[in-house]
Amino acid sequence: MKSLSQLKSFKQLSCLLCLSILALIQAPAESLADGTAAYEAKDYTSAITAFTSALETEGESAALRHNLALSYAQSGQLSEALWQLERAQRLDPFNSAWIQKIELLKSQMGLLSSPPAWYALAARALSFQNWVLLTTAALWIAFFIFWLCPIYAPSKAGLRKAGSSFSLVVGLVSLALSVLSYLDTTSGRVISEKSETLRAAPAKAAPAVAELRPGTSGRIVDQHEGYYQIKTMDSFKGWIAKDSFRPLTEVR
């Protein structure tokens, strides 16, 4: 009797443990659904919290960044919203709807419209890392075909030339797109919700060079301690605190 009751309690405990594990496994997926539900209920603060949590538990995705951007926009944090939307567009570069949304948001913030050119979009088709690897592989393949095939396969000159030419073209095109992709990774935006001062030197006491509107785009030229040196689209160059400017990609 005792052994039967022990067995029963052991089975119950096992079932409970399995259910708990299943619940834990399913728990992360609820963050995205929670965020969506909170957004639809117009609880944007909770939506921001849920989407941010989902970024950590489920990993980054274009849809998460996009929805997080809209939550920020609805709660009035337009600079942060613009950054998140641009990040989402980097993750899904050929989503034309999001390109339109970025321009809508920029016009709402009083920023100049600047949709990305076709070559910039092409450069975003792959990450900078993938472009570099593709370039390296293509150039090495072209090299080996060009130099080694005459020795080991001298009779197949036509195939050799075609192979090496193709690899060379792929390598050069991907090299150009790698450069564009690298330039794209150095861009960022002012994420402060108020105007930020661009300074002549990386110090708070340095004279001001310009006042940047929230959401202004710039390219990182240099960095020193807590400051980035950036160049804006309208050619202002100066130093801004790292707290106020965030790059769109982390190229480590």
Binding site: L32, T36, Y39, E40, E58, G59, E60, S61, A62, A63, L64, H66, N67, L70, A73, Q74, R90, L91, D92, S96, A97, Q100, K101, E103, L104, L105, S107, Q108, M109, G110, L111, L112, S113, P115, S127, F128, Q129, V132, L133, T136, W140, F143, F144, W147, L148, I151, T185, K194, S195, T249, E250, V251, R252
Partner: protein
């Protein structure tokens, strides 16, 4: 019945005896003061018991009758406990003191009549008491109120919502040593005022009635929030060392002493904590007049100037343009919000961003700027709306309205239309298909904002866009290895090509392969015991080795030539003679028909080993 009555009586006596004895006493401390000094009105409630220490009931109000000319302020309570043992009998007592500052306004005797006080459910009578206020002697030492006092520069009237700066001044006589400012309180319910005193103060010296004072000034910002007469006063609790009272005809200022004030006056002075107050004041807060109030008025009170400008007078449809309004002057900037613009079919605009630049520490002087984003919806010659800003000037007591005319803007047609993405319903109704020329569907127009704030409900798999292989060791390691392989391979290939193009190289290579074959032939001859074939092969091996060594074709060389070459090769004489002997035997057998039969297999083997050994020396 008699017993029950007796028991009740005993119980009552017992209860009464167990209850604490309570006495209430009131008095002035001191009972006689000079005009300008303050006294304390004290009510003491003493409870005593022989059983245990009584627990007092906290008294929070004192129903003191109002006396004309005598102001009461700053009520406070304290208590003390005492235990006495008399004739082995313990007696416990606790005294609760309620004291309040009494400030007389004239020379007279103030009398507080008897009144009642409820305490622990019983009504007690509070005795009457008197305070005698006499005229201050000309030679009397100044009172504490004359040595340290508080003043506030307040206006008589203000308008509701008007912000001004006032000054709270603490006067400290030079004979007083201020030890600390313990507390600050203010009564200003009808105003907004700082909760805490600002840290920055202004200090200066001032002489009043021949006495020098150190004046510490705190600037405060005051804004009335209720209309009508509003009371305002301030109180400090300070710790200060006041000078000792006059003794033996000498006063504080040494007027009766040829030596001036004595050092011992200050040496025996005590540090006291006491409250100082400003005189009770009332400010008449007036409501803003309704006559002449412009529609653009939204609560601004002060004196302002306005500048209006746009960052450009040319744009394209959909491209934003910024309209800035800058208000400068003095007033309640914290209550000013940007002017509102009516809806316009030609423009879409948003809430402005504001920024304030103060020119003083209180935010009353400065300039406030509002930046509006206007987005043109149509092309052509459009106008940014004119600006109207109304405010009330308390100096002139009238409303003023500042206006700015519309700003002309040239709007070019848009190069790229910002339209709805293809996944969203278009504003135009769908074209009916050829099969069905009529449609019952009703198109719904969607605003750009609705498009913007639509969530993504179809998440795709994530991909990483971060990372830089140029900073990874593995990337450079693999490329470095490929470079090394390329360099090594290239060197190898170049060397081979060089040799292939050289005739000497080809001859040597041919001789080497021939040498291997001839070596095999010699072995076979030994095995067959074919001495003729063996000697022919042996001679050929010598020729081939010399060919490999010299790079010349010596496969047809005679014995004499072979002997000369062997000599030049620098090998030892015994080796030379043995190799020459082999060569000559082969020639003899070939040309003269001499037979080498009879040479055993073992001898041939020995000759072969000797041959191999010496040929190695030729390499």
């Amino acid at each position: 019945m008699y017993r029950s009555t007796l028991y009740f009586f005993i119980f009552a006596c017992f209860t009464l005896s167990a209850q604490a004895a309570i006495t209430v006493r009131a008095y002035f401390d001191p009972p006689k003061i000079a005009l300008g000094d303050n006294a304390r009105y004290v009510v003491e409630i003493e409870e005593s018991s022989t059983q245990s220490m009584p627990s007092p009931e906290r008294v929070t109000t004192l129903p003191v009758p109002t006396i004309r000319g005598l102001e009461f302020r700053n009520g406070r309570t304290s208590s003390s406990q005492q235990t006495r043992i008399i004739n082995m009998q313990s007696e416990y007592a606790i005294t609760q003191s309620l004291s309040i500052d009494a400030i007389p306004s004239e020379v007279t005797t103030y009398s507080i009549p008897e009144y009642t006080l409820d305490y622990k459910g019983t009504t007690y009578s509070v005795n009457s008491t008197r305070l005698e206020v006499v005229k201050r002697s000309a030679e009397a030492a100044p009172s504490a109120n004359e040595l340290i006092f508080l003043k506030a520069d307040l206006p008589e009237s203000l308008y509701l919502g008007q912000s001004i700066q006032i000054q709270l001044k603490l006067y400290i006589s030079e004979s007083v040593q201020l030890r600390g400012l313990n507390a600050y309180e203010r009564r200003a319910d009808g105003f907004t005022l700082s909760q805490k005193l600002p840290e920055e103060t202004i200090e200066r010296l001032e002489t009043i009635n021949g006495q020098r004072y150190r004046v510490v000034t705190w600037p405060l910002q005051l804004t009335p929030i209720r209309s009508g007469p509003q009371a305002i006063d301030f109180q400090f609790t300070v710790s200060a060392q006041l000078p000792q009272n006059q003794q033996s005809g000498r006063d504080l200022y040494g007027r009766n002493s040829p030596f001036g004030s004595s050092l011992f006056d200050n040496f025996f002075g005590q540090t006291e904590q006491f409250n100082i107050y400003t005189e009770p004041a009332t400010i008449e807060v007036k409501s803003l007049p309704t006559e002449g109030k412009p529609s653009s008025f939204s609560g601004a009170i002060g004196d302002f100037d306005m500048q209006v400008f746009a960052d450009s007078n040319e744009t394209t449809v959909g491209e934003p343009i910024m309209l800035s309004i800058k208000l400068s002057g003095t007033g309640n900037f914290d209550r000013i919000s940007g002017p509102r613009f009516p809806e316009d079919a030609n423009w879409r605009h948003y809430k402005p961003e504001s920024s304030f630049e103060a020119k003083d520490d209180y935010g009353l002087r400065g300039s406030k700027r509002f930046d509006y984003v206007f987005i043109p919806q149509n092309s052509g010659q459009l106008s940014l709306p004119g600006v109207r800003f109304g405010f009330f000037d308390p100096e002139t007591k009238e409303y003023l309205e500042l206006t700015s005319p519309p700003i002309e803007v040239t709007v070019a047609p848009s190069k790229t239309q910002v339209s709805a993405p293809p996944s969203v319903n278009q504003t135009k109704p769908n074209q009916p298909s050829s099969e069905n020329s009529r449609s019952n569907n009703i198109p719904i127009a969607i605003s750009p904002e609705a498009i913007l704030f639509t969530l993504d409900y179809q998440p795709k798999p994530a991909k990483s866009i971060d990372g830089n292989p140029l900073r990874q060791k593995w990337f450079w390691g693999i490329n470095g290895a490929l470079v090394l392989v390329s360099i090594t391979g290239y060197g190898f290939i170049c060397k081979r090509r060089h040799y292939r193009n050289s005739p000497e190289f080809a001859l040597r290579q041919s001789a080497k392969s021939e040498f291997r074959l001839t070596l095999k032939t010699a072995r076979d001859a030994i095995n067959r015991s074919d001495t003729d074939a063996f000697f022919r092969a042996a001679q050929q091996l010598i020729r081939l080795q010399l060919t490999i060594r010299t790079g010349r074709n010596l496969q047809a060389a005679g014995s004499a030539e072979i002997a000369g070459l062997l000599q030049r090769a620098g090998i030892s004489d015994p080796a030379q003679s043995k190799l020459n002997a082999l060569s000559k035997k082969a020639d003899a057998q070939r040309f003269s028909g001499a037979t080498t039969a009879g040479i055993g297999q073992s001898e041939m083997e020995a000759s072969f080993q000797m041959l191999i050994t010496h040929l190695k020396a030729l390499k």
